[in-house]
Structure formats: C-alpha cells, structure tokens
C-alpha cells in the first residue's frame, strides 16, 4: 500500500506547500488526525445546535398564546422545516460522528481510522453541506416542506422558489459525508483492532458505532435516490412525483421512510453506546449482559428495516400492510426493552457515583423509556390514526431524540471532556445544567402528549382561543426557555472551566476501556505501544487483576498506571502527513451542488476542483519522503 520512494511516481504539482506540524490554522485545515477532526465535528454541530434551538424558541414564542402573530405562516413553515432538518442532519448525526472520531480508534487501540484523509473529507463535506443548506435563508426563503419533504407539497408546482431545492441538494451533499464516514468506520472497526481485541471484547460504544455505520452506509443511498429524483423533478422537469403524469406521491413516502426509519436508529444507537460506557464506570460494575446489549443493538439495526410503513398508517395501505407493520413495530420494542433492563441491572448493587455524566445517563434511561412507551402506543395502527400529525407525535419523538440522543450526548461530553482537553468541566455547574435541562425538557414536551390527544395538530402556526390549549402551550414555551438556559449554563461552564483549569489525569474516573490507559489529552499518535487485549474492559482488569480471581472489591489498588509518554521517541512513530486535498474536494463538491441551482459554470468549477483534488489526493504519498527515517 505504501507508495514511498518509487522512482517514477507521478505527482500532481502542488499549488500550496503540504501543511505540516500540529499547531496553527493549517494544522487544523489540513489535519487527518481523528481527534482534531472529532473536535471540529463537535464545534460545528454545536453551532448548529444553537441555531436549531433558536429556531425552536421562535416556534415556541409564536405558539405561546392563541391567535399570536409574531411570525407569519410562511416563516413558521420555514422555521419548523429547518429546525427538524438541522437537528437531525446537522446536530445529532454529526455530534455522534464527533464521538465516533474521538473514541473509536482509542477504544480499539489504533493510531487513527483506516482512511484518515477520507475522514477529513467527511468533515469538510459535512461543514460545507451544512452551510449550503442554510444559504437558502438569504436567497429568498428557506425550505418549507417539512423535514420529510412530502410531494406534492415539495414539488415545483406547489412550492416554487429555491428553498426545497436547497433542501434536497443539501441533503445529498450531507449524505456523501455520512456514507464516507460510515465506510471508514466499518473498515476501521473490522480491521484496525489491537491484538486480542476480538469483536466480543469491543467496548459497547464501538459496537454501536459499527452497527450505526452499517445502517448509514445502507440507508443514506436510499435518501440519495429520493433526493436525486426530487431534484430532477424540480430542476429538469422529470415526472417521478408529478401526479399529472402518473407519478405517485406515496412512492416518495415509501422511499423516504425506508431511509427514515433506519435513520432513527442511526440517531439513537450512538447515544445508547455512550450510556453503556458511562453506567458501568460510575457503578464500578461490569455492564450487565454485555452480549445481550450488543445483540439487541444488532437486532434493532436489522429490524429497523421492516417497520417503515408505521409512518404511513393513515395513507391507506390497507389492513394487511398496517397489521404487518404494527406487529414488526411492536416487536422492535423488545430488544430496546432488553437494553433498558440491562442498564438498570448494571446500576443494581453498584457503588454509584452521581457525577454529571451519570445523571445524564440515568436521565437518558428514564426519558427514553417514556418516549419508547408512547412509541408503542402509536405502533398500534388504529390508535395511531388518532395520533397521526398531532402534538402527541411531537412529544414522542422529542422524548426519544432529545430525552434520548441529546441527553446521552451531553452525558458523553461531560464524561470524555477531561480525556480530550486535559481538564474537568465543573461538576456543580454540570449538575445545574442537568437539572435545568431535565425540568425544562419535561415542562416543554410532557404537555404535548395531552395537547396531541386533545387534537392539536402539528405544523399549524396558531390556534383558536376557545380550544383550551393555551395553558399547556405556555408551559411548553416556558420549558423551551429553561432548556435554552441550561444550554447557556453549559456554555458558561465550558468557558469558566477553561479559564480555571482543574487538570485531569489520564484516568480520571477509574475507567474501564482503553482510552483511559493513555494520558489526557491523548498524544497525537494515541498509543506509544499498541496494547494487547485479553478481556472485555481490558484496562479495568489490567489495573485490578485480582478481580479476575474473585477478590473482594475492597482490596482494589491499581496495579498499572496510565502510559507515560514523556520518553517516547516520536520520530519512530509514523502517522500520515497532513493533506489539504480533502478540503478542496469538499469545497468543490459543495460549489458544484450550488451550481446545480444557478449556473453550469459553477458546476464546472466545482467538478474541476473535485477532479483536481482527487487526482492530487490519489497521487500524493501518505508520507512525504523527507519524513522517512530509514
């Protein structure tokens, strides 16, 4: 695979010198280091989290009382469309990707992912794709067809203007980023495991990353096809969803949800993985039922392909289809329930430390269970006919996606922050953050259950005074602002903790998995010596080998210390050199996508950048010859 020192190797002439070093702006723009890439994923998607949150607050302000007119119906449509799209594609997915990047190589004992430059490409395509989609705010109106863009509402006849075109094109660009990242992590997890790290010794987070990556790689192309079809309809006048030519809008629903339901598990499985790491650490017990949790995750990933039509119970697919999808949807609750019981059993009898991340993990279990149970109620298709398109649905998916995914992610941030930045986040402020978020979240979304059962429809910009919905709506708006306050507390916490650093050791929580066996923050090469793995939770049993012989917990004293890297000769460790080609390909792809909507000149420029970047990329040696120390 190495192409170094070949005499006649063709190399594209460089316009800029190849970036080098670990500091400065080019070290970030040209980085191929999974930790830097993970941090950038985190920063950018947190920015979109704030934007999506502001969109949600504007919606809540408009709904706080009846007959309000702060926001016009047109803008309201744009806000709820972009709130949903942003939170799914620009927040939860990339925040999960941030954790994949930061953790997977460390948890399996690797120096980086299998394809570091491809990893950088995923990051840049994500960043430019997210900007591309949001440009639409300034070009005559953001997307306004809902986050699942049903035709005919999203076709050019009923929705002229560029908004929905930006939406489909943007989604396809983001899909490229996700698929590339998914492929990368599949190969990384299969092929770069340290010696002895068998599949059934991998940490659960890595397992969930693996399953999520498979889902991403198989589901996102389906969205890509739907996107290409809708783009072709809107720009070139094809007939996929044009009912005048016989096109069938329900066909879009099938394709979209065939992608969309695995997508739901793409959003939640990483958070389940995070929680499965936090709970055993702060219970000082092994995860209860490791293999049951792993196989439940795999079963969820598999069953997720057979439930899509439960989003379409009111379309009129007939009793046979509705029954089949009712059964499969109820069945998928079983492996999820298995996981919840295993997490609770992990807590049972443990010596529990209620740190901030532990609180978020426990909050995850409780909130996700509520969301899961309301999910089972609309798995029943007759019952769903009453709930379809009401606030009950909104309550359900916010309980699983906010109370689930976001709670899990916040737990993960507090848990791994000392590992990647070398200092703790303040625990007291963290607890304030948790309590505010927990109260605000329930205040906002619990009333939506009865609002929905009382008939309040989704996606209406206002409602009549005599409906009796005002009290619940005021509570929900108040809850929204409490959540905003909790996020503000989090940001202040980051700011203050950064200023008054409490230095974190390599293994601050008495952790169990390999990432805690090295210093904090990890050296850029991760492991000076590639570890050998003999058990699940290998680092734990390296520290406390007597536990394997059944010694009581009271005699625990660590037998090994975190790897000392002060004497490592870094010149002997070879990592791939930096490269700016992923950045160029990412920019080119987004320019070409933008050009689709305006002028072929832009498409040509963009594709030229992609082509030039790809050739430069594939002819560029992984390491420049002068870096060799033979």
């Amino acid at each position: 695979m190495s192409v170094i020192n070949k005499p006649k190797q063709f190399q594209l002439p460089r316009i800029f010198p190849r970036p080098t070093g670990h500091y400065g702006i080019w070290a970030w723009l040209g980085t191929v280091d999974h930790k830097k890439i993970g941090i950038m994923y985190g920063i950018v998607s947190f920015f979109w989290f704030l934007i999506g949150g502001i969109e949600a607050l504007l919606l809540r302000v408009q709904l706080s009382h009846a007959e309000a007119s702060m926001i016009s119906p047109e803008v309201y449509n744009q806000l709820f469309t972009m709130h949903g799209t942003t939170m799914v594609f620009l927040v939860v997915m990339p925040l999960s990707a941030a954790f994949f990047n930061l953790l997977v190589p460390l948890q399996i004992g690797a120096r980086d992912v299998a394809f570091p430059r491809l990893n950088a490409l995923s990051l840049w395509v994500f960043i430019f794709g997210s900007i591309l989609m949001n440009i639409s705010w300034f070009t005559g109106g953001a997307p306004n067809g809902g986050w699942f863009g049903y035709p005919p509402n999203s076709t050019i006849n009923f929705n002229p203007g560029e908004g929905m075109t930006y939406w489909v094109v943007g989604l396809n660009v983001l899909g490229v980023a996700s698929i590339a990242a998914g492929l990368n992590f599949i190969v990384t997890i299969i092929n770069l495991r340290a010696p002895g790290m068998t599949m059934m010794r991998m940490p659960v987070f890595t397992w969930m990353t693996f399953i999520t990556s498979i889902l991403i790689v198989l589901a996102l192309p389906i969205l890509g096809v739907a996107g290409i079809q809708l783009t072709a309809d809107r720009i070139y006048g094809t007939n996929f969803f044009n009912s005048e030519a016989g096109g069938d809008p329900v066909f879009w629903q099938h394709i979209f949800w065939l992608f969309g339901h695995p997508e739901v598990y793409i959003l939640i499985l990483p958070a389940m993985g995070i929680v499965s790491e936090i709970l055993p650490t702060f219970s000082r017990k092994p995860l209860f039922g490791y293999s049951a949790i792993v196989f439940s995750g795999a079963l969820i990933g598999f069953m997720g392909w057979f439930v899509w039509s439960h989003h379409m119970f009111t379309v009129g697919l007939g009793p046979a289809a509705n029954t089949a999808f009712t059964i499969s949807t109820m069945f998928i609750a079983v492996p999820t329930g298995v996981k919840i019981f295993n997490w609770m059993a992990t807590l049972w009898g443990g010596s529990i430390r209620l740190t901030t991340s532990m609180l978020f993990a426990i909050g995850f279990i409780a909130m996700f269970t509520i969301g899961g149970l309301s999910g089972v109620t609309h798995a029943v298709s007759p019952s769903d006919a009453q709930q379809q398109d009401t606030y009950y649905i909104v309550a359900h998916f916010h309980y699983v996606l906010f109370g689930g995914a976001i709670f899990g992610i916040f737990g993960g941030i507090y848990f791994w922050w000392p590992k990647f930045f070398g200092y703790f986040l303040n625990d007291k402020m963290g607890k304030i953050n948790f309590v505010l978020m927990m109260i605000g979240f329930n205040l906002q979304f619990a009333p939506m259950h009865w609002l929905g059962l009382d008939g309040m429809p989704r996606r209406i910009y206002t409602y009549a005074e005599n409906m009796g919905w005002e009290g619940s709506n005021i509570a929900a708006t108040l809850g929204g602002f409490l959540i905003a306050l909790s996020v503000l507390v989090f940001m202040i916490n980051v700011f203050l903790s950064r200023r008054n650093k409490i230095v974190a050791p390599g293994d601050p929580w008495d952790g169990r998995t390999l990432e805690w066996s090295i210093s904090s923050p990890p050296p850029h090469y991760n492991f000076a010596k590639v570890p050998e793995v003999n058990h699940i939770d290998d680092w734990w049993y390296k520290k406390y080998p007597s536990l394997l012989e059944g010694a009581p917990k009271e005699v625990l004293t660590p037998k090994v210390k975190v790897e000392d890297t002060s004497k490592v000769d870094e010149s002997k460790i070879h990592l791939p050199d930096l490269s700016y080609y992923p950045l160029f390909v990412g920019i080119g792809l987004s320019i070409a996508a933008l050009g689709l909507m305006y002028t072929y000149a832009l498409v040509t420029i963009g594709l030229f950048l992609v082509f030039w970047g790809s050739i430069g990329w594939s002819t560029e040696p992984v390491n420049d010859p002068h870096d060799e120390h033979h």
């Binding site: 695979m1 190495s2 192409v3 070949k6 005499p7 006649k8 190797q9 063709f10 690797a110 120096r111 980086d112 299998a114 394809f115 570091p116 698929i179 998914g182 492929l183 990368n184 599949i186 190969v187 299969i190 092929n191 770069l192 790290m197 790689v217 198989l218 589901a219 996102l220 192309p221 389906i222 890509g224 096809v225 290409i228 079809q229 072709a232 070139y236 006048g237 094809t238 007939n239 996929f240 030519a245 016989g246 096109g247 069938d248 066909f251 000076a528 010596k529 590639v530 004497k567 490592v568 000769d569 002997k572 460790i573 070879h574 990592l575 791939p576 594939s618 992984v622 390491n623 120390h629």
Partner: protein, 216 residues
Amino acid sequence: MSDSNVTIHHGEEINNSTGVSNKKLLMWAFLGSDVMFFGTFIATFMGYRNKSLNGPYPSDTLDIPITTVSTFVLLMSSLGIVLALHYLKESKMGLAKLWLFAVILMGLTFMGFQVYEFSHFAHIGMTPQVNLFGSTFFTLTSLHGAHVSLGILWLGFLLYNEFNGNLTSKNAVDLEIAGLYWHFVDIVWIVIFALLYLITAGDGVPPGGIPWEAVH
C-alpha cells in the same frame, strides 16, 4: 517501553485484524452501499412500470438486438479484467497491459452504444421529461453509465501506472479492487438489461394510456 522503538506505519496492511487489505474491505462496503443505491432506482422503475399516461412506451423505443450487443461487450470486459489481473499477478506485463487496454476499449464501446441509444431516443422524442418511463429509464441508465465512465477513468489511471512501473505484481491488489468495482457494475447491468430491456420491451399502451405517434 522497548517495543515503542519498532517502526510502525499506521494502517499498514500487515497489521490488519482480518488480513484483508483495508482498501479491499472499503470497496466491498462501498459496493454494499451502491447496491441500495441501484436497488432503489430499479425499484422505482419497476414500481412505475406500465404507469405512463402517454407515449413513447417501451415497445415504441427499446431495441433489444442492439442492446444485446453492447451487453455482450460489457460482460466480456469482466472476463478481460480477470485475465488482466491474472497476468499482472504472474508479472507477464505485456499481456496484463494488453488485457487492461482491451477492458478499457470494451468499456468505451459500451459507452458509445449508450450515447448512440440516448441520442436516438432524444431524436424520436423520448426524453426524461416526456413520461414516467422516460424519467425512470434515463436516470437509472445514465447513472449506470456514470459508474462505467468512472471505472474507465480509474482503469486508465491503472494502465498508466502499469506503463510507468508503479503497478506490478506486488500491488496487484489495486487492480483487484478496481476489478471488484468493474464486476459489480457489470452485474448491475445484467439486472438492468433483464428488467429494463428484456421484460419491459413488450410493454405497450397501458390501460388508460394514450397511444403514441412517432414524430419522425
């Protein structure tokens, strides 16, 4: 830590957990992804079969004998790339280059047929905009054509590397990976030929459809 003095290149093939090269594994995973991509387009085509409200219909346009020839050429190119890889592994560079060149030529021939077919269809008035058959037919076949074209570029790059000595039996896996891609694109064409051409060619005017009068 004496072991840290051992020079380890990140991602070097010998360090793999499975013994399969990273790049080959990437290609297999990508092909899995591409199956879903083509699968959804093929499902769209089959779902919209006989749903066009106006012509031209498949029986008005498709020419099975011509497409059979181009299909045969493309399938033979799969044999060609097997031979190209075989001779590369045995370091018979002359034959390896010859067969790789032949594969590229066959790929170009296939693309030539497709260009001819598309321009012929446009000439008689079948476009992606005209009806559902046009929309579904053109998106699927042109995206397959894009895959073939990308493969031709890739193989051309590998042929160039065979000539300047950068592709030898030592890194024959690079050609093997391109071969996986090439075989996959051929297999997709078998499905397309069977479903879009062979079983569809007889489809005439569906119930409620308007018969079609050729423009030319």
